[in-house]
């Protein structure tokens, strides 16, 4: 087929609006459309926002609980517990702030911005769950240190200490590695699919694929 034929075919392409369909849609008055769509929007947004609000509340309860424990443990003998719980509090607080930021963002999505801009924001919003998980993985090593106390220093065998150090180093390595590598860029890697395979992550992985598509679309090559 010649280029000219393609051009002719494209320029001759016209879809005539189906009058019956147009009339049917326009028959609904604005008040009615407004009412239906507000209900729909609420129904669609509710689960998304509700999950995030529940996560924020649980996060705050967890932070308050840990803060209380830290407050009553402020002694030199419990230094490992205080430091571990302290880091846990800091990381969880960061995750809570990220979630709150995303709840605010949901209300700020503007459909009249450019297509790639708006769609990128929407996809990133869906990915927020992944970013929070990524941050929370950083608490991993502190679950291997909070129980260290002066008895362990006084009576712990070399074997126990070697095991303890190895576990902490391993968890630290994994936490940092996961933090650096959990990204939509690695969505097709096997380890990523194993880690985020459950159905609750489907929308997140779909958003990742779409974000990749948007980035490819924006690339000039």
């Amino acid at each position: 087929m010649e280029d000219k034929e393609i051009e002719n075919m494209l320029s001759a392409y016209h879809i005539k609006p189906d009058e019956t369909w147009v009339m049917k849609v326009m028959q609904l008055n604005m008040d009615c459309i407004e009412k239906i769509q507000t209900q729909k929007a609420r129904a669609k947004l509710k689960p998304l926002v509700t999950i995030k609000i529940i996560a924020v509340i649980l996060g705050i309860v967890w932070v308050l609980f840990l803060s209380m424990l830290v407050y009553y443990s402020l002694t030199l003998s419990k230094i490992f517990f205080v430091v571990s719980a302290g880091f846990n509090i800091i990381i969880t607080t960061i995750a809570i702030i990220v979630y709150i930021k995303h709840i605010v963002l949901i209300g700020q999505i503007n459909s009249s911005e450019s297509i790639t801009g708006t769609q990128e924001k929407l996809a990133k919003l869906q990915l927020s769950t992944l970013n929070v998980a990524r941050i929370l993985f950083l608490t991993l090593p502190f679950y291997t240190t909070w129980y260290i106390n002066k008895d362990m220093f006084a009576n712990g065998s070399t074997g126990i200490w070697i095991f303890q150090i190895c576990m902490t180093l391993l968890f630290t390595y994994f936490a940092i590695w996961l933090y650096r590598n959990i990204s939509y860029k690695n969505a097709n890697k096997k380890w990523f699919r194993i880690l985020f395979n459950s159905s609750e992550w489907t929308s997140v992985t779909k958003a990742m694929e779409f974000l990749k598509e948007i980035n490819d679309f924006k690339k000039e090559s």
């Binding site: 280029d3 393609i6 075919m9 326009m26 609904l28 009249s112 450019s114 779409f210």
Partner: protein, 167 residues
């Protein structure tokens, strides 16, 4: 949101540009009920975003932005479900209409099918191109550079050429 006094004026503008909504709904949903749902969704979002429109831009450019954003989000949410229905509808539609089609109508149908098979963003690009929008307008609506618009259109045309030649 537009003030209540502007409702009639707003509806008039929508009615004048209903063709845009029809074409977008037609390209992003093949199921009749979905098309109506999407049209209402688009009208609602246009109404809700009314204040973001300023006279520095063409009304149609602003309308395309809102309508395509809503359509792409709608398509991504409903994709799984609508694909199942659309395939059945699509086959029925082809059988029903295959008889008595002249060559131009057949080409037009083939082109519509080709557009519907494109990825969401490429589809938006082609809708705008077929509406004879300038590269500058397309780049403004999509948020990509004019050079990128030209490159992508040329690639899509080549794919279309290949598809037609292989038939």
């Amino acid at each position: 949101m537009i003030n209540p006094a502007g409702k009639e004026e707003f509806l008039k503008m929508i009615q004048d540009n209903m063709g845009i909504i029809f074409k977008i709904c037609n390209s992003y949903c093949r199921n009749k009920n979905d098309r109506e749902d999407l049209a209402q969704d688009i009208i609602y979002h246009l109404w809700k975003s009314g204040n973001s429109f300023n006279n520095d831009h063409k009304f149609s450019t602003w309308m395309y932005r809102v309508a395509l954003n809503v359509a792409i989000s709608f398509y991504r949410k409903e994709k799984k479900e609508s694909n199942i229905i659309s395939l059945q509808e699509h086959h029925a539609h082809i059988e029903e209409n295959n008889q008595g089609l002249n060559e131009d109508a057949e080409k037009s149908k083939l082109l519509q099918q080709f557009i519907n098979e494109l990825k969401e963003l490429d589809r938006a690009l082609m809708i705008l191109y077929l509406e004879a929008k300038t590269y500058a307008e397309i780049s403004e609506i999509l948020g990509i550079t004019e050079t990128n618009v030209a490159t992508k259109i040329s690639r899509i045309k080549n794919r279309l050429k290949e598809k037609i030649s292989n038939r």
